[in-house]
């Protein structure tokens, strides 16, 4: 957890909190109990939470208040969970979004232009 601010000039030293472990795309990570999934992943250096379903460009935290649905991930098999407002808990399995087939677009003559 190298990205975390442990000594803040105004807020002081980060109090020690209970650690939990979870998996993101089959890799094990550690976070603090009660913090948001997006924060825990950011602290582990992960900024890409999913890719755009059509273009495959990376997406991550955007509004961070549960408004924009940019950080949606798959949590324990539930699709479309917002990482920014989901508290991280022990043993949850998180999967990032991938590109989806765009059959109608692929049929079009001007596909890719």
């Amino acid at each position: 957890m190298t990205e975390r601010i442990i000594n803040h000039p105004v807020l002081g030293v980060l109090p020690s909190m209970e650690k939990v472990s979870f998996t993101f795309d089959d890799q094990e990570y550690e976070g603090y109990k009660g913090e948001s999934l997006a924060a825990a992943l950011l602290a582990n250096g992960i900024r890409t939470l999913r890719v755009h379903e059509e273009s495959g460009l990376p997406r991550g935290i955007y509004c961070n208040i549960g408004h924009c649905f940019e950080c949606r991930v798959n949590v324990n098999g539930l699709e479309g969970e917002r990482a920014c407002i989901t508290p991280v808990s022990d043993g949850i399995v998180v999967k990032s979004g991938t590109t989806l087939p765009t059959t109608v677009r692929d049929w079009r003559k001007n596909n890719g232009k």
């Binding site: 059509e54 997406r59 955007y62 408004h67 924009c68 649905f69 539930l78 479309g80």
Partner: protein
């Protein structure tokens, strides 16, 4: 799609340049601009970009008195089908 300019609608990935281009070429209303580009029709339902799409359209096509701003489409936030009715 390549990074052309600032993205306005992140769900449908519509850039500012694209919106200005379509708005000026078609001199269209906000609703027409939305339907032509799909800006504001993505996963979040336009909650992030609706006002921006509105503003861009009305720069090229002054809003008539009878026209209202882009509406909120039901359901106003993404809902799972399972939440609407239990799947058995």
């Amino acid at each position: 799609m390549q990074y052309k300019s600032m993205i306005v609608c992140r769900c449908e990935e519509v850039s500012y340049d694209e919106l200005v281009e379509v708005a000026s070429a078609n001199n269209c209303s906000a609703r027409e601009l939305k339907l032509r580009t799909r800006a504001g029709m993505g996963y979040c339902g336009g909650r992030t970009c609706r006002t921006m799409v509105d503003q861009i359209a009305h720069k090229h096509h002054p809003r008539p008195d009878c026209e209202i701003s882009l509406k909120y489409q039901a359901p106003i936030r993404p809902v799972r089908f399972a939440d609407l009715g239990e799947v058995k």
